[in-house]
Amino acid sequence: MAQTFLHQAGEPIAQLKPTRKRRWGGVVPYLFIFPWIFGFLVFTLGPLLFSLIISFFDWPIVGEVRFIGFGNYAEMFTDDPLFWTSLGVTLKFAALFVPLNIIVALGLAILLNQKTRGSAIFRTAFYIPSVISGVALAMIWSWVYSGDYGILNYFLSLIGIQGPDWLNDKQWSLVAMVVASLWGQGSMMLIFLAGLKGIPKDLYESASIDGAGKIRQFFSVTIPMITPTILFNLITSIIAAFQQLTLALLLTGGGPMKATYFYAMYMYENAFKYFKMGYSAANAWFMFLIVLSLTFIVFKSSEAWVFYEGEMKKNPQEKLKGQGRRRSL
């Protein structure tokens, strides 16, 4: 709306002073966006290309640089068990974390969206863990998870369960990390909450006139209307799973027996512990490709399950063809 309004307002004045506009139109805009252009070239595009280049080299931080073609990639796939271990750990983590993260965040958002008193206070309580540093979060959870003195095992002992030494247990350490990560779900919850608040009330009214109960309304109105938000959160969760490093470094150091040796940690150690820059760049590019293809798959599949407001009003069939996905105003 703002844009059409601006367009109309700007038009006559632009016609009044064509010469000035033409003379200044040239360089000035580029001067304003120059900081970004420079930063993009030096800190993003340059490094992106350079990391692709060095992934084809044996490139130690000091010493001789040597072109080895696809050598790094070949070594990764055929000659490095740690690569497969770390990839497996990350995929296992993602398989647990991504769905749980969405369920928890959406569940809390739905609770907060009910008409209750003090919902701002509850919202704050759910969001506060997301405000503090990842280091603080890790320190708190390493104490909560302590096998002998931790508060978690105390609660479990109340219901007669002898809890494991969470972070040093091969079976439980990854689960422990999923739970600690879920604690910081706040942003996702807020995004869902905004999505829920954006659903027009009249949809529920007409649904209930048509005789739909609360549960039916949830599945026929709420869920379809927030599928775009679910898509967004799904993709950010997947990327977050692949970038999980802080918790691994601080809670377990990748152990016990590599049970929490995340892919990001593998990459980090190759670069900054063993200083194999070229190899680590190859690791990073492989991760980039995985994340890109997962995102692509999610996007492609979304044509079947994501519902965009507005497509219905024109022609319900268009949704299936993946067309007409502009918001009507």
Binding site: V28, P29, F32, V135, A136, G195, F242, F288
Partner: protein
């Protein structure tokens, strides 16, 4: 009946989310003898506030605080200046390649940090910036995609007549920005400042990679050093954990309105 269920669930989950924090705070206040008990004691019998001062002196935390403040203040300043300029450029000018470049801005948000991390490290190494605070400050002066996007969206909502009126009065483009646009951008600039300050204060991986020398450490690095340090007790670790969490929590309470709105925007427009 349904109302009661909602309240019970809200209360239950609130307690669940707050319990680890509460446990951290009470641990920070415990005396040595009450630290390792099973069943644990929730409330310490004596509140030892001296734990905070003792923990602070185990490492040079004053120095870490100074470094952290320096990085946080300068990089926030950098983001505010650079992102405002760039966002204004994208919002208020017609120029060749604008829409394409803006698409590139949005696309850079998708690139994982890990991919550019190694060349960035090598670049800073070449410039002899490793083990200085520069790698954590200087890039902020060249904008960041998300903030540019946020500010551009905001500038688009400001009526263009205001610019035109000023232009007719002879104001230059830069004057229009500083005198007309910026004063109207209050809420969105606060949002950028808040996000940047929190991100910087809480950052761990940046300092971990770029700083080696203890005199350059930030607070989060100092706290992480406790892990594996011999003879440091849990109450000290929790004391520092609580202390370094106070500034982000304070900012959050004051800026809650902006933050909630800002995060919501990401999801809807993203």
């Amino acid at each position: 009946m349904k109302k009661i269920l909602v309240y019970v669930l809200l209360l239950f989950f609130s307690l669940l989310f707050m319990a680890p924090l509460f446990w951290a705070v009470t641990t920070a206040l415990k005396s040595q003898s009450e630290l390792y008990l099973f069943p644990p004691k929730w409330i310490p019998s004596v509140w030892k506030f001296s734990n905070f001062a003792e923990a602070w002196n185990i490492q040079p935390f004053n120095l870490f605080l100074k470094n952290t403040l320096l990085i946080t203040v300068l990089s926030t300043l950098g983001q505010l200046i650079s992102c405002t300029l760039v966002a204004y450029g994208f919002a208020r000018f017609q120029f060749k390649g604008r829409d394409f470049l803006f698409l590139v801005v949005l696309a850079t948000m998708m690139i994982p940090w890990e991919v550019t991390m190694i060349p960035q490290y090598m670049l800073f190494n070449l410039l002899e910036w490793i083990n200085t605070l520069k790698p954590l400050i200087v890039p902020s002066f060249f904008g960041s995609a998300y903030f540019i996007f946020l500010l551009r969206q905001f500038i688009l909502t400001i009526p263009r007549e205001l610019d035109e009126a000023a232009t007719i009065d002879g104001a230059s483009k830069l004057t229009v920005l500083t005198r007309i646009i910026v004063p109207l951008m209050g809420p969105s600039l606060i949002l950028v400042a808040v996000f940047q300050m929190m991100g910087c204060w809480n950052d761990y991986l940046g300092p971990l990679i770029f700083l080696n020398d203890q005199t350059k450490y930030t607070l989060t690095l100092g706290l992480s050093q406790f892990k594996g340090m011999f003879g440091v007790d849990m109450q000290s670790i929790m004391a520092i954990t609580c202390l370094i969490s106070i500034p982000p929590l304070t900012i959050f309470f004051f800026a809650q309105r902006y933050i909630v709105g800002g995060i919501a925007t990401t999801g809807i427009k993203g």
